[in-house]
Subunit: 368 residues, 2 copies
């Protein structure tokens, strides 16, 4: 194999596929990036058997072939080469040289034949969504997936398509995050659970441009994201997701409009009074025109009032401040609306057309 | 005590003195920052018994007094307050409230009486040096202080004053870094060893302006750095420093001029071939017009040649690449000159007027 490509292009490609290189594995070959120049294209591939990523880089194939190279080493070398043309050449003993200007690295690669293939999946009509929307949707929901493997499906996100609507949901037992997206076309109804890790990695590598699209293909066991010159193939999580509609009540007794930044800053300040493991709730007192926030702990007391506009009843309610911070952190609106029923029912932060809905369970402050 | 000052001023002050708050201590009071408003000035003070830092912040003293507040908590609160006036008020039970706009924190402080005083030191004629020069001098020498407490004086730097010259030296057994600075005035001869940690902290908090000066006072046991509204008092390390002049030979057989960035990049690339614990030397082959760099390891081989201009003999010599990288990293010149005698004697990187001298011991490649 002999290929020539620019250092910039190679570096970009290695950075993308590196996201699918496992940090720990018993299969040494998976610690490699496969350079596949078996056709006239140069493909880089990595595969941790859950996610596989393939990307095509610009360059010349001077002699066809494939080789697998230790991903960490390859990444370090590529990043440290001068910004110029890079030549990668192998012989039949897997001896590989990487040259750029006067620098030469010579290492032993691994046989590309041993590298697991990308899962071959029939791709039908794609679901089309802009890279921007996909990236934002992930950012706005990923924080409420569960860290724990106890209920495996909660480590992923529900992608539910019905007609021209895509609903993305994550929940971790204390809160639910929902994004509703209107698609340009209509599609067959589908409901799948995408691993959180897959979405985290995609978020890192898509450009987030509003003009470029992502094509999404869904099969029984896999989801495929195609964008730019990159293909990400991920296994789906098996199981039935929770019925979200049951969790969301439209009843409320108290409706509060509040400046997002003011609320975010105040709750952030309040957390200085508590260590996260304390699980101390922040107490919100909703009155006419103001919301008072209080927290008291071993350290001392925090107290702040924020101007609001309120409809409905006064209310005292307690929350884990972290859950509010996480939700407010990803809302881009200047003003948010909070709907509450009483001190023991979940509150909802949502906008009028329900692009986003954040449901947060309160802490029962009357019992504690 | 009651004081009023801006959040920005308070935040700046807390950031400065925090550098002297110990991370671990058995004296709980040292984990605090002392607010000293016993006069018409507001002083913040921290003291880990090795270094004490005092800084004066702008503000109004409305009621005189002193209070000690947990440094980490105080820092977090101050950083998270709105950018507006902050009022800090204590009562006689050490109950302290910090208010800013509508936010109120109420905590229990510690008695300021229990806080150790700044060491009272007679300050005579100061040694004057620009903040820029001091910061640069630290940056250019600190990396070759020793991490190990085995020979305590090597964890510090020699500050040697003779006439209008200041020489700053650090060495760790493998290399020596020297900066020679010409002062505006002449001073009495002095030779002291300043703890590396003190210098690291000063580097973080001085502005580095070329127009603002640092006043340095030296006593038998202490060194004091005064800059802006801040005073840093540090203990000196006890002992006699090594005689540097003996280590520096002006003999050489080979003199090489080389582009600094080319050499730095090439040696950095070469290190990708080795883990630091391998202690694999990089082999330099100095010939007419070019220097070839080679390293070979378990991973494979690296090879690169760089254009040079050479005087004297050809030479093959081996070095720990890290020592070259550290020195080149802090040299601002585009071109560096390297003086070498033979494969087993130290090489020297220095400029013509010896503002900087970096001495690096080679690895004996003929034995290994």
């Amino acid at each position: 194999m002999k290929i020539v490509c620019s250092q910039a292009e190679l570096s970009k490609g290695v950075n993308i596929v590196s996201k699918a290189v496992p940090t720990r594995t018993t299969m040494a070959i998976l610690e490699c990036i496969l350079i596949d120049a078996s056709s006239d294209e140069i493909k880089l591939i990595a595969n941790d058997m859950e996610i596989a990523i393939e990307t095509v880089i610009e360059g010349r194939v001077e002699e066809r072939g494939i080789i697998a190279i230790d991903a960490r080493f390859f990444g370090d070398v590529v990043r440290n080469l001068p910004n110029n043309d890079v030549t990668i050449e192998t012989n039949d003993k897997l001896q590989t040289t990487i040259t750029c200007e006067k620098a030469l690295f010579s290492i032993t690669g691994k046989s590309g034949e041993d590298f697991p293939n990308m899962p071959m999946i029939q791709r039908n009509q794609p679901i089309v969504i802009s890279q921007f929307t996909l990236r934002e949707t992930i950012r706005q929901t990923i924080f409420s997936t569960s860290d724990s493997d106890k209920i495996k499906i909660l480590t992923g996100e529900l992608f539910e398509i019905s007609g021209n609507k895509l609903k993305v949901v994550s929940l971790d037992g204390h809160r639910v995050s929902i994004r509703n997206i209107l698609l340009k076309d209509s599609y067959e109804d589908k409901k799948v659970i995408v691993p959180g890790k897959t979405l985290q990695e995609i978020r890192k590598i898509i450009s987030g441009s509003t003009e470029d699209n992502t094509n999404i293909f869904i099969t029984d066991n896999h989801i495929i994201f195609e964008f730019d010159k990159t293909v990400v193939v991920s296994r789906l999580l098996e199981g039935d997701y929770f019925n979200i509609d049951q969790m969301i009540s439209t009843d409320y007794e108290t409706k509060v409009k509040i400046n997002k930044k003011d609320l975010y800053s105040s709750i952030t300040r309040s957390t200085l009074m508590v260590k996260e493991e304390d699980k101390k709730p922040i107490i919100m007192n909703v009155e006419d025109n103001k919301m008072n926030l209080k927290i008291s702990s071993f350290f001392g007391k925090f107290d702040e009032s924020i101007d609001i506009s309120k409809e409905g009843k006064n209310l005292q309610i307690g929350f884990n401040p972290k859950f509010f911070i996480d939700a407010l952190n990803v809302i881009d609106d200047e003003e948010v609306t909070i709907y509450m029923l009483d001190y023991k029912n979940p509150c909802m932060i949502k906008n009028d057309n329900e692009d986003y809905i954040y449901v947060i369970l309160p802490v029962n402050i009357r019992e504690s």
